[in-house]
Amino acid sequence: MQRHVAAYLDEVRNHLYLDPRTERRVINELSTHFDEKVEDLRDQGLSEDEAAHSALASFGDARNIARLLYEAHSRGSWTDALIGCQPHLIVAALFATHVWRMPLLLGSAFAAIVVIALLAWRNGGVAWVYSWMGYAALPLLLLAGYLSLDPLSRTVAFVFSGQGAPPPLWHVGLLGALDLFILWLVAATAIAVARRDWLLLSLMLLPIPVVGLWLVTVLPSAGILGEVVRGFEARFSRWDASMGYLFVLLGATTALFVRLRQRSLKVLAVIVVGIVGGALAARTLWGGLGLFRTLAVALCLFLFLTVPLLLRTVLGHGAQKDPLPSA
């Protein structure tokens, strides 16, 4: 394949942000077009280089073509939108009905989310999977943190104050391996998503600030998670309605994200609602924050939601370059 054409197709591919299978098919179709066009132009007497340049000039700007192709593929169906907002609505329902206090139901809900997310991820390419993946990562990370808490605190107490006994080495090794596995799983998934499209990773991260703020508010007051769910106090329930509304807002945003075609509007929806949702959660949970603190929270949320963009910039597209048909 002519190197100018190959470079052009790489430029299109880098800005497509589609699932690898669709991306491969789109690039193959464009590649076949260039092969035929170049051949036609050569038959008209142009050199290989002239033909390639002429074919590229008549094709249009690579980024613009990539944008149009993205818009042709980016809209999910209403079913996708409905399924995509379900994990947010499940969590909203857990708060609205105060069921989050019941370990069995809470565990069952998140186990179902993890299973559905993993099955959909394996299936690949479904438009609604990313919101599920965000919620699926949460219990895994919490589990890793929760299991490490006791051995870690015992080790710290032993090392720094000589109190108690450190946990057995096999215990530390086992938990360390489990933690590493969970972190690897979450990080590898996040990297794979960011390489495809950083915006999808931002969508995955959308509930993290709201859930995170709630956890850091509730956990220090009530001790570790076991105590929260066992000895629930009325002071935690006063936030349930607000939290429920916030998750409904995140659900509506996810549905909107799936249905929108234009990338700029998708970016706007995720970033604005992510910041507003997180800031509202902070104001609800921490009381009146004042303008300066609210702005500081908003800035932190903005940085958090745009970390995937930085990740994508550092990692690059990363898609396997398929051998394209030669001219």
């Binding site: 464009l30 066009k37 008549s58 249009g60 042709a72 048909p325």
Partner: protein
């Protein structure tokens, strides 16, 4: 769909009718592919309609995702693959509606814009 450069007509006029144009030609051929469509539109219009060629593919993909066209990969003798498009029943129904609408519209335009007698 975007035009390379204005050639004596408002590009919005064509942009609004690109889908009909593509569906019409695909319906006529039964099954055809992007490059052939581009060449045929230029040939049939004697070069009057001149597309930025890359914009035809997003239009085809959008029609396919909307269920109006159906795409199929076919292997060529030289080992390459080419995507062929055919019109679906839904696409054919929409095409008939658009053609009828276009005919009524163009007749009405011609009648309004003809020089008045006397």
């Amino acid at each position: 769909m975007q035009m390379a450069e204005p050639r004596g007509y408002d590009s919005d006029l064509l942009r609004g009718n690109t889908d009909s144009l593509l569906m019409f030609l695909i319906n006529e051929h039964g099954q055809t592919y992007g490059y052939r469509l581009i060449k045929e539109i230029e040939e049939r219009s004697n070069g009057y309609f001149h597309f930025k060629e890359g914009t035809v593919y997003p239009a085809l993909r959008k029609l396919e995702n909307d269920g109006l066209l159906q795409g199929e990969w076919k292997k060529l003798p030289n080992g390459q693959e080419r995507r062929y498009y055919s019109i679906t029943d839904q696409g054919r129904r929409l095409l008939q509606e658009k053609l009828a609408m276009w005919q009524s519209f163009s007749i009405a335009m011609a009648q309004v814009m003809k020089p008045s007698e006397g």
